[in-house]
Amino acid sequence: MIAALKRSVLIWPAMLLIVALYLVPSFDVIRSSLFDPDLTTRHIDRLIDRPVFMTVFWRTVQTSLIVAFAGALIAWPVAYFINAQPRRSQFLLIFLIFIPLWMSVLIRSYAWLVVLGRDGVVNSAMLGMGLTTEPVQMLFTPAAVQLAMLQILLPIQIVTTYGAMTEIDLDLMRAARILGARQGQALRRVFIPLSFDGAMTGMIIAFMLSMGFFITPALLGGPRDRMLGNLIEVQVAQLNWGFASALGLLLLFGTLGCVIVLRFCGRMALRVLK
C-alpha cells in the first residue's frame, strides 16, 4: 500500500490541480444551485417556472444540433479526401486543417464580425460588383451565429473523422471489390459503416462544445440568438451565482442527456446502413 502510494507520487501534482480546480468547483456549482444557504428548490423552480429559460435551452440544443450535423456531413468527404492521398501529402493537408483550429474562438468570431458586418468584406464586395445597392443585414442573425460556429467546430470534426479513417484497413475495400462489389457498393457497405463511429464521435464532440458556446452568439447574434452560456454570463455578472449554477447544471445534464440520445440514434442509423 505504502509502496503503491510512493510509486504513484508523480501523479499527485496533476491530481491536485484536477481535484482543487475542477472537481471541488464543479461540486460547488451543484451545491450553490441547491443550497442558499439552506436546502432550497428556489433556483430550480425559477428555471422551470419561467418559460424563457427553457426556450433558450431548446434553442441552444437546436443550434448545436444544426451545427454538429451540418459539420459531420461537410467533414466526412473532407476527411475521406485527405485519407485517400499519399502519406506525405496527408501530413500537409491536415496541417491546413490545423491552422484554423489553433486560432482562439474570440479571434475567429471577430473575423466573422469583420467579414459579415455592414461595411464588412462580403457587403463591400457585393456593393462593388453591383449585386446589391444597399448593404445586406447579415450580422445579428441566427445564420451568422451558425455559420461562425460551423467554421469554428469543423476542424475538430475533420480531424476526428480523419483519425478514425486512418485506422480502417483499406484491404477490406479491395477485398469487397475482388468479391464483385462495385466501387460505390464497397464504399457504402464497407467504408462508410467502418468510418461511421469516427464521424459520430466528431459530431458528438462538436455538439458538446457548441452547447457551451458563449462568445460567438454574444458577438454575432441578436438578442434572440442568445444561448445558455450567455444567460450564465449575465447571471454571474449580476452575482446571482445560485441561479447561474442551476443554469450550469441544466447545461451539463442537458448536454449529457442529448449525447445519450445522439449515441442511440447513431447506433440505429448504423444498423440501417448495414
Partner: protein, 266 residues
C-alpha cells in the same frame, strides 16, 4: 467507370479546397484590413499604414493586458507541462489497472464547457476569498491545459523504447539519471509542443479570466471589452499579430513533434 472515378475525385478535391477556404479565409482577411489607416475597418482599405499598430503599442491598457496574459500563459504553461509530464510517467509506469480511470479523470475537462468550469472557479473563489486572484487564474489555466499536455506527451511516451532506460539502470544509473539520459531527450519535442499548446490555451482563454479577475485585464478580456463598445480597428491589429504569432508557434511545435515521432518510428 474510370471516367466516373476521376469526376468523383475532382469533385472531392474541389470540396476539400472549398472547405479549407471557408475555414481559413475569414481569419486571414483580417490581416490586410489591419493595415488600413482610415477611422473604420474598410474593405479594401483606401490607404495603407501602420496607424492601428501604433495605436496598439502606444496604449498602456493594451500593453498591460498583453503583458499580463503573457505572464499568466508562461507560468500556467510551465505548470501544466511539468505536472502533465509527471502524470504521464505515473500513468504509463506505475498505475497499472487504475491507469484508464485516471486518464479519463485527468482528460475529462476537455469536454466540459469552459463556461461551466469558469462558473465553478468563480464560486470557488467567492467561497474562499480568492476573487481577483491571479494565482488562482494561473492554476485554473494550468488545469484546463493539463488534458492536452497529457494527450500530447502520452502519445510520444508510448513510442519510446523502455529497454533503453532499463539498460541504463542495469549499467548502474539511478532511476532519475536513467530517466534523464535515456527517456527525457526523446520526450523533449513533445514537451515543447505541449508547452506551446498549453501556453496558447491560457493566452486565448477569456471566460475564466472574465469571471475571476477584478480591476485587471488579460488580452482576451481587453479585446472582449473593446468589441462590446466600439469596434476600433486596433482590435484588427491585435488580432493580426495574434494570428501570425499563433500560426508560427503552433506550426513550429507541430513540425518538431512530427519529426520526433517519425524518428522514433524509424
Amino acid at each position: 467507370m474510370d471516367r466516373q472515378r476521376t469526376l468523383g475525385s475532382v469533385l472531392l478535391s474541389a470540396w476539400f479546397w472549398l472547405i479549407v477556404v471557408f475555414m481559413v479565409f475569414p481569419i486571414f482577411v483580417i490581416i490586410p484590413l489591419s493595415f488600413g489607416s482610415g477611422d473604420l475597418l474598410q474593405f479594401p482599405p483606401q490607404q495603407y499604414g501602420l496607424r492601428w499598430y501604433h495605436a496598439y503599442i502606444n496604449d498602456p491598457l493594451w500593453m498591460q493586458a498583453t503583458w499580463l496574459s503573457f505572464k499568466i500563459a508562461l507560468i500556467s504553461g510551465v505548470i501544466a507541462t511539468i505536472t502533465g509530464t509527471m502524470a504521464v510517467i505515473a500513468l504509463e509506469r506505475h498505475l497499472g489497472r487504475s491507469r484508464v480511470a485516471f486518464t479519463y479523470l485527468i482528460t475529462s475537462p476537455i469536454i466540459v464547457p469552459h463556461i461551466f468550469i469558469a462558473l465553478g472557479i468563480f464560486i470557488f473563489a467567492l467561497r474562499n476569498g480568492l476573487s481577483g486572484s491571479q494565482m488562482l487564474l494561473i492554476g485554473a489555466h494550468a488545469m484546463v491545459a493539463l488534458p492536452f499536455v497529457v494527450l500530447i506527451i502520452g502519445a510520444s511516451y508510448r513510442q519510446i523504447d523502455p529497454t533503453i532506460e532499463r539498460a541504463a539502470r542495469v549499467l548502474g544509473a539511478g532511476p532519475m539519471r536513467a530517466f534523464m539520459v535515456a527517456t527525457f531527450p526523446s520526450l523533449m519535442p513533445a514537451g515543447v509542443a505541449a508547452f506551446v499548446f498549453a501556453f496558447f490555451v491560457s493566452f486565448d482563454e477569456l471566460i475564466i479570466a472574465q469571471f475571476l479577475l477584478k480591476g485587471t485585464e488579460t488580452l482576451p478580456m481587453r479585446i472582449w471589452a473593446n468589441l462590446q463598445l466600439d469596434i476600433s480597428p486596433t482590435v484588427a491589429a491585435v488580432a493580426s499579430l495574434l494570428i501570425v504569432v499563433t500560426t508560427v508557434a503552433m506550426a513550429g511545435a507541430e513540425i518538431l513533434r512530427r519529426r520526433a515521432t517519425q524518428k522514433l518510428a524509424d
